[in-house]
């Protein structure tokens, strides 16, 4: 008997080069297993991330977005992670106004030494999103049209 495909969430993770990305690397070196639903994008600092990045990720069909920055007080660029935190909060508000659950976007603070925590965080995020179900935005229906004049 054929069984319907169970829902496997697609998670985009923006990871800071100085901490969470290294933690993901460490998780790999430690041979820790975590689900493969996650797509890591390395950023120079979470302070580089704009609200648009999160919105676009959801527009294009991501079921969840994880922002992983340094622990508060340890940002390589002093306060990039604090800026990211405020932007994530703003984007969560916008998502909720648009009809998506706030929980689909999450920010965490992980140091480069926390390989185990990284793997656990990813698992937890995936479970949270799995419970919420698929992103109702069907990316094939999204038509981004950037008009250019001149």
């Amino acid at each position: 008997m054929m069984r319907a495909n169970p829902f496997e969430p697609k998670i985009v993770a923006f990871c800071c080069h100085y901490c969470a990305y290294a933690a993901a690397d460490l998780a790999g070196s430690m041979r820790l297993q975590y689900p493969t639903n996650i797509r890591i994008i390395r950023t120079p600092c979470t302070g580089k991330l704009e609200v648009e990045y999160f919105m676009r990720a959801f527009e294009y069909g991501a079921d969840g977005v994880l922002v992983a920055g340094c622990e508060e007080g340890s940002c390589h660029f002093i306060e990039g992670n604090l800026m990211a935190k405020r932007r994530v909060n703003y984007a969560r508000e916008l998502l909720s106004e648009s009809g998506l659950e706030r929980k689909r976007l999450r920010m965490v603070n992980i140091s480069a030494a926390m390989g185990t925590v990284f793997a656990e965080t990813v698992k937890d995020m995936i479970e949270t999103v799995r419970k919420l179900g698929p992103n109702p935005v069907r990316s094939d229906h999204v038509n981004v049209k950037q008009e250019i004049h001149r």
Partner: protein
């Protein structure tokens, strides 16, 4: 500059419901500086609207464009070709911008995407404060450059009211008493004697009396 704030997405969805091709039109001047209606905000609001449209099955087709200045016909003209392709325009300009675009396109609905708030300045990062009420007859010279009409909760021209506590306004304790500021400033520039003059009642006919205000400069007319 003119300071504005975005409308919430549910309100925008309510305004736009029933339309298909929507152009989100940003303005690169005041509202871009106050982070409400520039290119970046056009992108963010368009994204949110696309998500809302998908979730609620509204079938919006959203285009994005930002022009230099919406309150100027010269710049609106530049966008004419794009604007023609859309059914409605959601303008992220100030109230003047929305009306300027609407006047130019008599048969196209133009909706506001922002709430125009006031004329003000950026006081700190992420904090804008009102400084001018555009009353039509400036009295700043009399008060050391601090406007009692805008910044005093009671708009007193012959203040202070006597209610301030520890230099805070009694109406809004989060604000400094404008009259305390005026006193300090006049003292600093050695013009305290200005306060001896009793200011006559203000001529409010220069304000919003009898419809919108118009300025005509014959030397610039063709």
């Amino acid at each position: 500059m003119i300071v504005a704030q975005r409308k919430r997405i549910p309100e925008l969805v309510e305004i736009l419901k029933g339309n298909k091709r929507i152009l989100v039109l940003g303005c690169g001047t005041c509202v871009a500086v106050c982070l409400a209606g520039g290119e970046r905000e056009v992108s963010i609001i368009s994204s949110a609207l696309r998500i809302a449209s998908n979730v609620q099955e509204l079938d919006f087709e959203i285009g994005e464009l930002t022009i230099e200045r919406q309150c100027d016909n010269v710049f609106i003209e530049e966008a004419a070709e794009t604007i023609e392709k859309y059914d409605v325009i959601l303008s992220l300009g100030c109230g003047a911008g929305v009306q300027a675009v609407a006047e130019r396109y008599a048969e196209k609905p133009v909706y506001p995407g922002l709430n125009t708030a006031f004329i003000g300045i950026l006081e700190e990062r992420g904090l804008w404060a009102e400084k001018c009420a555009a009353c039509g007859s400036c009295v700043l010279h009399q008060y050391g450059g601090i406007c009692p009409i805008t910044r005093c909760a009671k708009h007193m021209l012959n203040g202070p009211c006597g209610g301030s506590r520890e230099d805070r306004c009694e109406v809004r304790p989060d604000l400094s008493c404008a009259w305390q500021l005026i006193y300090k400033r006049l003292k600093g520039i050695g013009q305290l004697d200005r306060l001896r003059k009793i200011e006559q009642p203000k001529n409010w006919r220069m304000n919003l009396d009898g419809g919108c205000r118009v300025i005509v400069r014959e030397d610039h007319r063709i």
